[in-house]
């Protein structure tokens, strides 16, 4: 299988060099070949995809431009609403639910000519860091099936890494795009909060959730973000205006940029960041310097409190967002003599342990007598993190850190201890709390030969700069691309 980029596919399809249908069949063949092993998908929409691909080809025959993603197969995390198509969130409680509407991003992808190939597996309601918490089974890392792909968007990351699709969408609440991107050796982006409409993204934690792309190349993620981003009147937290040009800015380089390596997230102060990950980060720093940036270590002190604040705020919002799964209007119902007991029976049977754990944690943090000690305090910590970032960005254009503390771990390895699992998100969480964009770029491999991701963080709405630095890292990554060992067509 030769891996292609979305950009390459779209231009080939637009020029008539290949048909959307041919492209699709190649990818469907790849899915057929390895999906049983990887289990990236909850649902493959081969027939619907063929219809969509044929429509793209007809448009081209008719002389119309289907858009920047003409004929590009995409996969959607299964927490993005698709009209008439099951959307499970990896949960039994929504098994079989067909939303009566499309998420905004789904409409935008279709309008850009993309072809949806399927819905990808995830940790139930996006709660997890390994895609082991799905009611529909675990997803495996295509680079080593004994290992996790990361999570919660593990299916979307694995689908790209396995060559099932060139690009996919995930959602990132505390690192759920960037961490699996790092573990699967692909690019993953969490945009600025509000850059991409959340309408139709099944909520986990509303003030933290963002939809973002996975891709093999930095340029493809930039392209995807241009397509899905921009104001949406159906999301009150959507930033006014359109997405700035990202692809056109990519090659501008980083000469003269000031880049800070976040001390607190880079190992010396923080336990759990593995030696090989630290080593790659150091090399990435040198590479950025070689490209003309000044790179120095800097302190963003309150980031170390991010994990604690996050594991109060996210469960609190989740406890409320997930109340609606009550057996009344959609999804699972377990009957009982009265409505209250029906709610309880349904939720008890429908939710997995991780979801229950977070619902209870969040309910506790909001309950009478504990609000100030937990939720109130965590929101104040959020303020400190925002302030610390603001200070850092007075001095630096961008910040960098590892994406995840380690390379992909074994399936089952951390599944029994929630707190150990939560520590996976320590480097990614601060961006969610601050609402800032961040990208994970593959940068070499660890001692186990598995990919390492470097995270580049930027101030709110400064994605263009972030992508420029990511493109630099991508170009100089030590072993080239971990999946293909070289450039991509």
């Amino acid at each position: 299988m030769t891996l292609s980029t979305a950009q390459g596919i779209a231009s080939a399809v637009r020029s008539g060099e290949r048909t959307a249908r041919e492209v699709l069949e190649d990818y469907l063949a790849a899915v057929d070949g390895r999906e049983h092993e990887v289990h990236a998908f909850n649902l493959v929409l081969a027939d619907e995809a063929r219809v969509a691909a044929d429509a793209v080809d007809s448009a081209i025959d008719a002389g119309t431009n289907p858009g920047p993603l003409a004929g590009v197969p995409v996969a959607l995390k299964d927490n993005l609403c698709t009209r008439g198509v099951p959307t499970t969130c990896g949960s039994k409680i929504l098994d079989g639910w067909r939303p009566p509407y499309d998420a905004t991003v789904v409409g935008r992808l279709a309008a850009a000519g993309a072809v949806v190939v399927g819905k990808t597996n995830l940790d139930e309601f996006a709660m997890g860091s390994s895609t082991e918490n799905s009611a529909f089974g675990v997803t495996r890392n295509p680079l080593d099936p004994a290992k996790v792909p990361g999570g919660s968007s593990g299916g979307s990351a694995a689908a790209v890494a396995a060559g099932f699709v060139p690009v996919s969408l995930g959602s990132d609440t505390g690192g759920s795009i960037r961490q699996p991107a790092a573990l699967c050796g692909v690019v993953g982006v969490k945009p600025t909060y509000g850059a991409v409409s959340r309408y139709g993204l099944v909520a986990f934690a509303s003030s933290l959730d963002q939809i973002g792309p996975f891709s093999l190349t930095v340029a493809d993620s930039a392209l995807m973000l241009e397509v899905i981003g921009g104001h949406d009147p159906r999301d009150s937290t959507s930033i006014p205006g359109r997405t700035p040009d990202l692809v056109a800015e990519l090659d501008r380089g980083i000469d003269g940029m000031r880049i800070g390596i976040i001390e607190e997230l880079s190992g010396d102060g923080l336990e759990g960041i593995a030696g090989d990950v630290r080593a790659r980060l150091g090399e990435a720093g040198l590479a950025l310097e070689a490209a003309g940036a000044t790179v120095e270590t800097t302190s963003v002190p309150s980031t170390v409190y991010g994990l604690s604040a996050y594991y109060v705020i996210a469960p609190a919002e989740a406890s409320s967002n997930l109340a609606r799964y009550d057996g009344v209007r959609f999804g699972l119902r377990i009957d009982a003599p009265n409505a209250g007991e029906m709610n309880t029976a349904t939720r008890t049977a429908g939710f997995g342990d991780e979801v229950k754990r977070r619902i209870m944690l969040g309910t506790y943090a909001l309950s009478a007598g504990y609000y100030d000690a937990y939720y109130g305090k965590s929101q104040k910590v959020r303020t400190l993190i925002v302030r610390d970032f603001a200070r850092a960005y007075e001095e630096f254009d961008l910040l960098v850190s590892p994406t995840a503390p380690t390379t992909a771990f074994a399936i089952g390895e951390k599944a029994t201890d929630p707190m150990t699992m939560y520590l996976n998100d320590v480097c990614t969480i601060p961006s969610n709390l601050a609402g800032h964009p961040a990208i994970s770029v593959p940068f070499g491999v660890g001692d186990d030969g598995m990919p390492v991701g470097v995270q580049i963080l930027a101030p709110a709405t400064d994605e263009a700069k972030m992508f420029r630095a990511a493109a630099v890292l991508e170009a100089v990554a030590p072993e080239g691309h971990p999946l293909v060992g070289g450039g991509l067509p």
């Binding site: 939303p99 309408y199 009150s236 109340a323 009550d326 959609f330």
Partner: protein
Amino acid sequence: MREELTGVIPGWETVIGLEVHAELATATKLFSGAPNRFGGEPNTNVDPVSLGLPGSLPVLNEQAVELAIRVGLALNCRVQPSVFARKNYFYPDMPKDFQISQYDLPINEEGWLELPDGRRIGIERAHLEEDTGKSTHVGGGGRIHEAGYSLVDYNRAGVPLIEIVGAPDLRSPEDARAYVGELRSILVAIGASDGKMEEGSMRVDCNVSVRPIGQAEFGTRCEIKNINSLRSLGRAITYEAQRQVDLLASGEAVEQQTRHWDEDEGRTHKLRSKEEAFDYRYFPEPDLVPVDPSEEWITEIRDALPMLPRERRHRLAEVANVETASVVLTVERGMDDLAFEAIAAGGDAGRVIVHVENNLADGAGALDAESFATLVAMEVRGDLTATQAKTVLAALVAEGGDPAEVAASMGFEAMDTEELEALVERLIDEYAEDWAAFIAGDDKERKKKSGFFVGQVMKATNGQADGRIVNEIMSRLALD
């Protein structure tokens, strides 16, 4: 009826605070474009947002904010930056199992409302929130606790509400009814709500406590739910106050409770105690951003407000030289303009007000201000008696026309004063003893006897005489 509603228990004072929920008269729901429409086939005025479907997000209705600001200004509140919060509780008619409401930062705070008698009742806050859907309990005669199952319609879910929380400044069922009536008039006047209690667009919860007269601190209160009319409001308060007094009088304590008014049984019963109160786990709604209306917007809304009932009462009472309490109905019925015009057209202010307050309950119909003024002038001149004027007025309302012609067609001719004097003289001869008693009597006796003679005159003239003129004649003759 009035006795039943006084709710006055000797030695005790009833303290009442009301929470009124009013549906705002917008075209769409508070957080989505689904129609805000009463009635309609079940589950047709819905969209993903009002059904609380996964992935749906709320976006605030600008008009709902404007109406809320109108309410705030009309209730003399401070209009301030506000934040929506989630109030978490499970209930089938609440689609998301939380209600988006306002909690510690409501859009309006600290105002007052003036009752028709001039007393000011504090308004603690008036905040925006969304309505719930509607459950029908099937089986068990529709009673919630005996139903076999329930059916839920989400047409009403997400309809914008303003919740107006009044201070515990009311002291009787009459006060409470006057407060709700005044609030309703205001909401209707400013176009914020249609105020229809019978359609549920205005709903009242009531906090009641009692204390011995003279005691400074409040007693323990109970909140009464399910009050569906002004009549129930009075009955519920009367019942509840008596229940609490009975408890205290027999040495027991009042427990803080939420209680349900049962209209059929005419009593309240316990829903839950304070300990069983819900833990709503309020927190700021992350899907919405703060509302911070600009000074310009608030000023624009203030400038566009119509004159409020209170001001209209004051204005009319001043022109008519009466108490504000005498023009309550006139203003409530929106007939103050007619009254002004009739007065401006030369109608006697006092008589105009009397007629509008008492004789125009069903509206002015075909009556115009000119004819109204003419009619009142005829009455004042003595061309028509009060009774005749009322009859002519009814005809003018029904059919319109020229008051003099209408009066003539009814055979209401003004009696010649000389004719009347002759009649009075004849009656004096006939009832000489009564006349003597009239002349010699004290005020009380004079009054009684003048009533007697007026009655005789009316009898003799089939009610066509003007009682005032008869009295004048008698006074004159008595001096002779």
